[in-house]
Subunit: 91 residues, 10 copies
């Protein structure tokens, strides 16, 4: 089942460069693992913003919430989720 997810990031102030780099590296690895296993189907940068639009393909709401709540950046994100259905014009 597909969901469109928008994530807006606000990094915490007061991190050292090392803490920040380590946090972002964990986020990237987490995202790429999910892209590789097919559940994080798409990820695009929103031009000019520290934000992305993504498409997830998971079994159900609980699985999606688990994946999102596990993001290393989850405490620093505002997330909104839109469930997507099949469009009748889709070929």
């Amino acid at each position: 089942m597909l969901y469109l997810v928008r994530m807006d990031v606000t990094l915490p102030e007061g991190q050292s460069p090392e803490e920040r780099a380590e946090l972002l590296a964990r986020e990237k690895a987490y995202s790429q693992d999910l892209q590789r296993d097919g559940r994080w189907k798409e990820i695009w940068r929103i031009v000019g913003e520290y934000a992305n639009y993504s498409v997830f393909d998971v079994a159900d709401h609980d699985e999606l919430h688990g994946l999102l709540a596990g993001l290393p950046l989850f405490p620093h994100m505002r997330i909104s989720v839109t469930p997507l259905a099949t469009h009748p014009s889709h070929i």
Copy 2:
């Protein structure tokens, strides 16, 4: 170049069922032609709404505006466009 496009439809009142069916058939054919040639990459129904999220892959802004302005339902839609860039975590 990719764009996320949201379209919200409000059909005009006072159409006959035949006019409406003809309008929607033209919209569907128009959409499917663009899906087949690869420029309308994705189209999803937003659950519970007469609306869709779509992804377009076109050469530039003018081409996208031309495609959208040519939609048979264009006069009955509210459209918003978000330009999408490559995400650094994308694999």
Copy 3:
């Protein structure tokens, strides 16, 4: 899978009382059939508004969109859908 759904109704002007009564009777029957089969789990009136909050329990997004798009009042409603996951404090 659970979804919270808010529906706001704006009845079309210019209907005869008979047309309106027939439309509302069909809506009520449609809703009660779905309540009886367990998919429309909850329905509450929002105090002071021609609107409701409902909870649906269906297999997936497509099933929910099909149910909502089939509502006799669908063309006269603004609907918003929130996917609900299990809460960790739920007993």
Copy 4:
């Protein structure tokens, strides 16, 4: 009497892990006590957000405000309350 309640949590920065764990444990116990006595009828996680939708069944406004103001997380929540009436299509 029923109320739909939405709670959005923003945890305070600067807590130690122990303080946070203790705060969340108290919140969970508080919620589960109220679920067990039937006043906190429903609680769902909003997918992708540190937020919940809940349904309370209490005698009156004062009782509800007392319960909400007593939440260990109350100082860290934005809460909105919608009174729910019986829907005429409810079976």
Copy 5:
């Protein structure tokens, strides 16, 4: 139990002066009956707007919804309801 209610009126176009006068007279009588029996405790005009803030004192949500849905102007109003609790500084 107390509720603050805001009502914003948009009168339908195309009424004859007689229809309008009759509708407004019924609304006024309805409001004054409820003021006399104590359930419509307060009514104030919002300066410069065709709108009012009112305070209702009723037994429960269903009674309030019944009163509001029975307003002759109900189909022409946007209404929002805020439940009011006792304030700890109230004397």
Copy 6:
């Protein structure tokens, strides 16, 4: 002259419990003095929020602003003021 006033409180972080208790005690005394002299006519808690709706009865705008700006919690409040006129249906 009547005004509806909504006050939303956000207490400053980093106060000691004694500072906070002293601040809230001054706020309460200030409010109760004004309630006793009849200028702060009504005060209600908004259910679930650290906020109130109040009605003031004062001679003019300057008097109201003076009263509000003198609130011990004024630096920690967002306030909005709505002037109220006599409603023609008022009995």
Copy 7:
């Protein structure tokens, strides 16, 4: 007592040019009478909009509401009113 008032006009469709001219002439005369007697102290056009910001100087809320509700364009306006107090830096 001073009030800042914003008025946004949406003229009704379907008026004849004569009806419209007559309506606008009445509005202008009404405004100019109030400007001459000093109660409509200021009136400015908001650049690019069919809207104005005005300052009224009247005895109380009821007088202001009476003046605004008497505007020939009142049924075709959205009006918002802000009460203005003396500023401590005013010379």
Copy 8:
């Protein structure tokens, strides 16, 4: 002096194709005259919308309002105006 102007168009329903074509031709001629004399410095289509962003260079507010209010489409537009000053980084 420069102003950024956003114009959103909603064409009236019920026009004949000839009326519409004539209206749009007058709008285009009006715009092009002002572009040629240098006062309508820039005009861009907002992708996917029946709307434009424009830059005007005029002597003062009254001249700009006169130009905008004279647009053949003015009664069918929502317009917002932002005054632009010299930026200190401008070369």
Copy 9:
């Protein structure tokens, strides 16, 4: 040329009383100088808020921006500017 300006102040936390008093005294002197030379034509307190509506009369946008950016409180204000034109009903 006239502009309506709304200024909303949020004072920085952590100032000493002396710093704050000095800052506010500079703001007041700055405002009164501009009122005396006629460019800051009007200043009103918005009732209940740490905010003002003002009217400026200056030669052009750059002059206005220079005056506003020079306010001692400028770093602590949210400001919005509306250009005002002559109203055709103005006497």
Copy 10:
């Protein structure tokens, strides 16, 4: 390809005057380099705000995002991007 970009700046608190001056000097140099090479076509100050409207002319979305993300002030800005197409009335 053209994009309208709005940037709103909120400088971090707690910088020394030297840090701030150095940051702003780098921002200015960065902006002027891009203005000189023609990609940052226009930059205007929004009157009364610490914000600008700019027009960029770049090859594609990725180039624009790279330029914006490289701004020394990027971590302290809220940015919104609007793609601009050719307007049919443009001469």
